[in-house]
């Protein structure tokens, strides 16, 4: 009997992500310095007192990154929740029922996919205005089409499969079939897609903040800090490098998980 075997990527990914998430959670309750506390020790290089150095207001970058990554994590997680959630609903409905609903929604989907995602986010943000929650909504909307398309395929593939026909014959309601009979069988595509989506969300949030349409202080996200850091690349390179490093590490960890999940799926078939 083939048990789902953990693989190296999955373990390494979980460890890296786990450490960062733990660090972020700690950051909710404790940071070495208050993240917004300004001091006259400006733009100091990393030292024992300030592991990542300080920024132009003399704030401790380590503490700020600790908190900023929390915002980033929250945004990415909620974005995926919206994108994948709505995407799954749309995909389920279109994939399962087909027909005219499918035609219309998929055409709309095509049209939405035609906008490059950053552009779509840009447009939505200029309607909603910047800010943490608007970024989440904007990115969430941006992410819907790809999930919808993917889930549509996953649901449509099951539509005429025997166990679903049986479920219909036993009189299960459509909702029950969708949720209980079909959904669990889409997880093997959904889970890796979630990790990819998560990473895209982190990178997209960073790009948006960089373009000045992302989160607004006092919320700090890593993208915001990175755009701040760009202006000080010469006088405080540690700022950009530490923030960029943490983003890369977080994304790296999660994509290792995704890689691991995919390998696991393949092994089990």
């Amino acid at each position: 009997m083939m048990k789902k075997k953990l693989n190296g990527y999955l373990i390494a990914g979980c460890i890296i992500t786990g450490i960062i998430v733990l660090w972020i959670i700690i950051g909710r309750f404790y940071t070495p310095y208050p993240p917004t506390k300004m001091s006259s020790a400006k733009l100091q290089a990393p030292s024992a007192a300030h592991l990542f150095g300080t920024d132009k207001f003399g704030r401790d970058i380590f503490s700020r990154v600790m908190q900023g990554s929390g915002t980033t994590l929250l945004i990415a997680a909620l974005t995926i929740l919206i994108g994948a959630g709505v995407g799954t609903v749309v995909g389920a409905v279109t994939g399962y029922f087909g027909g005219i609903v499918d035609e219309v929604l998929m055409r709309l989907n095509d049209a939405l996919t035609a906008f490059p995602s950053i552009l779509l986010a840009l447009v939505i943000i200029s309607i909603l205005g910047p800010g943490k929650y608007n970024v989440i909504i904007a990115l969430g909307i941006v992410f819907i089409p790809s999930y919808a398309r993917m889930m549509r395929t996953a649901f449509a593939a099951q539509r005429d499969v025997n166990y679903i026909i049986s479920a219909r014959l036993m009189g299960a309601s459509n909702l029950r079939i969708l949720l209980i009979h079909m959904l669990p069988n889409t997880l093997h595509v959904l889970l890796p897609a979630l990790t990819i989506g998560f990473n895209n969300a982190v990178l997209a949030e960073a790009s948006m903040s960089f373009l000045g349409i992302g989160v607004t202080p006092p919320d700090v996200s890593m993208g915001y800090m990175l755009s701040e850091a760009q202006g000080m690349f010469r006088s405080a390179p540690w700022y950009a490098l530490s923030v960029g490093g943490v983003i890369a590490l977080l994304v790296f960890g999660v994509s290792l998980i995704g890689e691991g999940l995919q390998i696991m799926n393949k092994e089990v078939d």
Binding site: L108, D110, A111, A114, P116, S126, I127, F210, L226, G244
Partner: protein, 316 residues
Amino acid sequence: MKYAARRILALFITMILVSFLAFAAFHIISGDPARAILGMNATEKQLELMRHELGLDKPFIVQYFNWLLGFFSGNLGISYSYRQPVASLIMPKLKVTLVMVLISFAIIVVFSLPLGLRAAQKSESRFDWIRTSINQLCMAVPAFFLSILVSYVFGIILKFFTPGDFPKMDKNLMGALRYLFFAAVCIAIPRIAMAVRMLKSTLIEEMEKDYVRTAISRGNDRVEVLKKHVLKNSLVPTITFLGQTMAEIVGGSIVVEQVFGIPGMGRFLVASISNRDYPVVEALVVILAFWVILSGTVADLINQKIDPRLKLGGRA
């Protein structure tokens, strides 16, 4: 032939839908172009005059159809911000972006194909995880962060190009190409990583199919199998991916242009959005969307040539 006609019809329908969405979206945006043009001290009367001048006092649907008709006759409207025909404004920028995107695409193709092949071949080596991890890491770096690094290292320190001083294409083509090359690299790197990953898994998957065993049973070497059978079979997902890439690097160029100070379409788009310059934004968005859909359609048409089975299926 029928398939091609159907795809082109679909492209057309989607474009109409896209244009409507774009047009509607920018009319929902709360800002007032008249206000944007006239500034904060403008009086109601001034604003009204301006709105009339811009045709903003007509009903939405009328505005849309006027615009759509104009679009087909090559008249993309007049920019609010520059009082010039949009077409003449955006042409030079489109040229810059197009060149950058094409360079970037070329880099992606040139690097990812051999790397992907190699990754697939070496997938059973003990050091595969190193390769995979490096690959994942390349995907993890935000494109603009890469851009910042590249423009500092290659621009300021090594002086291979002068950041902020993009040479005019018609005057100094080589200089412009060199400048664009560095930006294109920044767009390309994460995409190369993705392409390698995709190629690797496609090739491995393909190598495990039954027909490979058949081919070997006929006396083919693994290399021959790869050349004669597997590559062609991997081509369809690869071309689909490249089509997506073609579409997505345009989106990626928006941010990279910003960092490198490249006067391309992306930067112009961002500026025009914040200036509420609807005609420009709408034209750019529709062109962008066209690019995206076209990439997909072309990829599909090529695939359909490669894989005769696709002729039957049409849309999945």
